[in-house]
Subunit: 201 residues, 2 copies
């Protein structure tokens, strides 16, 4: 049992949140104690429940408290397209655009052999099963445009091309000038890429 | 019972923390789920315990889970000096300087008649009892240098001056150029004040 005063324990505990240091934790502690004890108590209950009950969806590995997540169990979603992303936050970002009606597969990371993260750790065996056994016709690889993300994308593309008895289209998110971006301030690589990948009007 | 997915509930719940919006709450939720479930669970337990058990110290009104806070129950602290501050955070800031060995009295706010906060709401009746019945010889008024803080300071000073049968010294935190401050960038009022209150070398 921690022997420090409870207020000190509260301040330390809040520091387990990302980018919350001692000063912010102190401010949060005083705020909760002074203005929102009820909110603090219900937040505590929800955090505890979430930490215990949220698991990974059995199909797409996204976070959910049910065996299958909302999207995987939704019969209105298009079974023929699977969007592969690195994290649940990436899937949420794509969902927020409301321009994708297929299903997802969450890698929960990206290939990083040096850190011991191989194809199995990011669930590629499961992805292969989904491609082989479900109605999937297109894999949209939406990993980040980082070195690890690109490597992972290439690995998945090669895996998909080796699947027999099925014609699967593999695509990658378009790269280029972001909407509202000014050419003057764009980095050289992106600009070169958007020139090479220019599209007919 | 909230019918939204537990992850959404978690994100909403975390937004009850000060200056945490939807985006930060989402980042916190993913971080806890992915990297620190154990930390999340123990944080939840500490928050719940703190919200239920932290009360105000019977003497100084600071936060504590005991009847008397650490400082009020510490016999080594100087009983003859009482430092009056607006909030527990202010008391913590003074404690951090390690240059005050007396006791505190926390107003938990400042006088604000328009908001219905009068002398009783900030516990001045309790402060008067402390001054009259304890060994108190000096009151250091360390309220903020804001309009409300100054008004509160004047009110307390006048209250103390009306206490009979006891000679109480009343003081206020010094105002002037902050350590490391450059005169060029100091506001006019502070500079004028520091000139008027100049000290002999």
């Amino acid at each position: 049992m921690d022997s420090r005063p409870l207020l000190q324990q509260l301040v330390s505990a809040l520091q387990c949140l990302p980018s919350v240091g001692r000063k912010s934790a102190q401010r949060m502690a005083y705020y909760l104690l002074e203005k929102n004890r009820q909110g603090g108590m219900s937040m505590s209950a929800v955090i505890d429940k979430a930490m215990r009950e949220i698991k990974n969806c059995e199909r797409c590995r996204n976070y959910t408290e049910l065996p299958l997540c909302d999207i995987c169990s939704n019969v209105k979603r298009d079974d023929t397209m699977v969007c592969v992303v690195e994290s649940p936050a990436d899937a949420a970002a794509i969902e927020a655009t409301a321009s994708f009606s297929g299903k997802y597969f969450i890698l929960m990371g990206s290939l990083s052999p040096l850190d011991g993260i191989g194809p199995e750790e990011i669930g590629l065996d499961k992805l292969q099963l989904i491609i082989e056994e479900e109605a999937c016709q297109e894999i949209i690889i939406a990993t980040s445009a980082t070195v690890e993300g690109e490597a992972t994308a290439h690995f998945i593309a090669s895996m998909v091309s080796h699947i027999e008895n099925k014609e699967i289209r593999t695509s990658r998110l378009a790269q280029g000038v972001p909407v509202g971006g000014e050419l003057e301030y764009l980095d050289q690589s992106t600009l070169a890429l958007s020139l090479a990948n220019r599209q007919n009007l």
